[in-house]
Symmetry: C2
């Protein structure tokens, strides 16, 4: 008999009433009396379990009543709709076959575990309700990203993870090497001889695909990356991981306004897609993780995001009379407390803050006519602060070269990036969305370690 997935049974239960089916999965709970018992079985295809009723007429009845949690089974039986019960239907078992018996010391017993404990069993935690929901939402959100850009005709590009330049400028990097670290080869000046390394030079893990993505945007117009990025920053917070996934779209013939339009559409698209395709999981988060979740997401999905320039934002913050830990004046980088005040107390919805002082932003952001600010914009959302950063890119060769020099960087390191401006420059814009940031936002999960299957953070690369 062919296996039927539990998801199909839930989605089409009317069609299965009275029919015989075969399913397979893992025991989540088991309780029995002398003559019958109930098993909650999860087959991995769906967030919810299916209830199996078994009775003493089964030849292995006794064995089944003694099975440990997480044993894998296959079950043949009849679907019975149960409109008066909590679950919409159940299976009356005709035959239960034990596939793999679990052990009684299985660590994920029914009681509630702390998230900290569950991180120590990262190989088993996807079997808990919480992580079953988180990683299923992660998968759906990733698909939503690809679907969104595919529908808009963006080309998906894989920019390199291993980079030969240490000049991406977005953060501390991990060095990569195949040199013998017990006996590092030196050149005649006593410096490390990277010419003997795998790539013949020093290499690192990328902190951003942006500069590479720009080269592709100037061929394909609209492109996006979606891949892992790395920061070797020693920041042991709930929001930082050493390895995380980023979505970095770049668009030729696009101004700052165009980036903001696409970013706003993208965020709404992901949220709506997940709400529609993971109703059970989202219900779980709203009930058990953050009771305000649906209200928060509705607010994002249904509001027009505000747009306000940095200078106005600073004015509002100063005039607010609010006591901030970091005092506000024009020229400072906005802190999370400032960002959250603006988006939560003032606007009460997501806002883009635009046109930041050039000195606190990267060299590649387009200089505004005032000579003091750049065409950058960050998206701030209530409850989190920044989740997207982006800008129009400086397309004018001479201005870009000047900015590189002002920042104390070397033009030679950017020869190919500069050539993009020499050969067919156009205005263009792009942004970066931290995938885990939006997952945390959508699920209410507050630690980045809990939205990544096997997180890598300072001091921790287990599994």
């Amino acid at each position: 008999m062919e296996i039927t997935l539990i998801k199909k049974l839930y989605r089409e239960s009317e069609n299965f009433n009275g029919k015989d089916v075969k399913i397979s999965g893992w025991v989540r709970t088991l309780r029995d009396s002398k003559t019958f018992g109930f098993i909650e079985l999860n087959d991995g295809s769906f967030f919810k379990n299916i209830q199996i009723v078994f009775e003493e007429n089964l030849e292995n009845f006794k064995d089944i009543t003694k099975l440990p949690i997480c044993t894998s089974l296959s079950v043949e039986g009849t679907i019975v709709l149960t409109p008066e019960s909590k679950q919409p239907f159940e299976i009356k078992a005709k035959k239960i076959t034990i596939e793999g018996k679990s052990s009684s010391d299985y660590p994920l017993q029914k009681k509630r575990h702390t998230l900290e404990y569950l991180r120590t069993i990262a190989h088993l935690r996807p079997r808990s309700n919480m992580f079953s929901a988180v990683f299923r939402v992660r998968s759906l959100a990733a698909y939503a990203v690809h679907k969104f850009f595919n529908e808009k005709g963006f080309v998906y590009v894989n920019t390199p993870i291993i980079t030969g330049s240490d000049c991406e400028g977005a953060g501390e990097m991990f060095r990569l090497t195949t040199l013998d670290m017990n006996n590092v080869p030196k050149d005649k000046d006593g410096k490390i001889d990277f010419s003997q390394d795998f790539f013949g030079k020093e290499t690192n893990l990328t902190v951003s695909g942006q500069l590479s993505a720009e080269t592709l945007a100037l061929a394909f117009r609209n492109v996006y990356t979606f891949g892992p990025t790395f920061r070797a920053e020693n920041s042991n917070t709930a929001r930082h991981a050493a390895e995380f996934w980023m979505i970095e779209p770049e668009m030729a013939f696009a101004e700052l306004k165009d980036y903001m339009d696409v970013a706003e559409d993208l965020v709404k698209y992901i949220i709506n897609y997940v709400l529609e395709n993971a109703p059970e999981e989202m219900e779980f988060f709203n009930s058990f993780v953050d009771k305000e979740l649906f209200a928060k997401l509705d607010n994002v999905a249904n509001s027009n995001f505000g747009r306000i320039c940095y200078t106005e934002a600073v004015d509002i913050l100063i005039k607010s009379g609010e006591k901030f830990q970091y005092p506000v004046e024009w020229g400072i980088d906005l802190q999370t407390e400032h960002e959250r005040y603006l988006t939560e107390n003032v606007f009460k919805k997501p806002i883009f803050v635009t046109d930041y002082p050039k000195d606190i932003k990267a060299f590649y952001m387009r200089l505004n006519d005032d000579g003091k600010t750049v065409a950058a914009a960050d998206l701030l959302v209530p409850g989190v602060g920044e989740i997207i950063g982006g800008s129009q890119r400086e397309e004018r060769l001479n201005v870009l070269e000047e900015r590189i020099e002002q920042m104390g960087l070397k033009k030679e390191d950017y020869w190919w990036y500069l050539e993009l401006r020499k050969y067919g420059e156009t205005k263009h814009s792009g942004f970066g969305l931290g995938f885990e940031r939006i997952l945390m936002y959508m699920t209410g999960v507050s630690n980045i370690r809990d939205v990544i299957p096997f997180p890598r953070t300072t001091g921790s690369a287990d599994f």
Copy 2:
């Protein structure tokens, strides 16, 4: 006036006849006589260019005739269908605005360049026909992968790139470090003190997400990874890169046969999706890269893949009387020459070779009842040889432990992998498809460096 994308004009040209539109893009060719001229403009949205006719009534007519290739323009004009010409329509320009003038030393002039030369300008080559087609097909094929698995209810999982184990067993690894290589800290035994490294231990770049993916398959039933993987192997061939993308599905409650069914469906799905969604690009490859391409792909898309066990395959090779460079006997690892002989000369279609000798396969492959072979299968395709490798995974704890010991590996290194067998073991299977391998197959491009935007190979990590 809103910009219209060239792709839309091509796909809906009937609707645009006689209408005024605005487009923007880059000049691919330009020729002129005294009173009029033609521009082939590419806007990145589509493989093909659009022909623009401009006449001396334009106020900047003279300037336009002198523009270098790759200058970016915006053009307003009227669409005129030209059913008698090579191109289905053209634009009669009313206004041409120069956005960014290119330089006359632009390296990608119309003449044909070697692929080797184009690799030295990897930041510009996506603007050539060849690479415009390759990377657009890459994007579509990636989307096809996600769409295929989404339709089948597989959960997309991101397994870690940074791994703390050096026991994935699939190849040489890149070490990752933030230690000062000029002054590597040593412990009291004189060994490198990795406790001072970022993660507090030695870490490497992953060579395969499989072991992690298995943990997730035992929660979600059907999962797949699609991400970068790394090999620090000093093999300077046309088929090997140090950084490449892999698709690694893992399926619980699945036997070897089930993996082969899914893999066969996947390969056909990707090919059909790309043929359908990139007809112009595929036509280009069939005309300019490999004249047999369509015939080859049709053969794959429309045949039932053969299935033959290793022992039979060896028999056929021995009986063939063919002179191979590597002599054939039971127990050897099949070489590309053997694989190609089987798939090209004997079967003339893709085949799975199954049940390899255990000694030439990895420890995690399921031991067959004969005690000599494992439930592994490789997919061989004509013209290439192996493009997929996979197996049923050993789910029996005692057998797996024994295999680990036999291979001289340490059980402690695999504690969490072994626990998957202790808690709810099920039969399960999975496979790995090298994304670049199938891209090479689908495009006819014979060097892996030409299907990756910025390839990383021995001695080369430019851009």
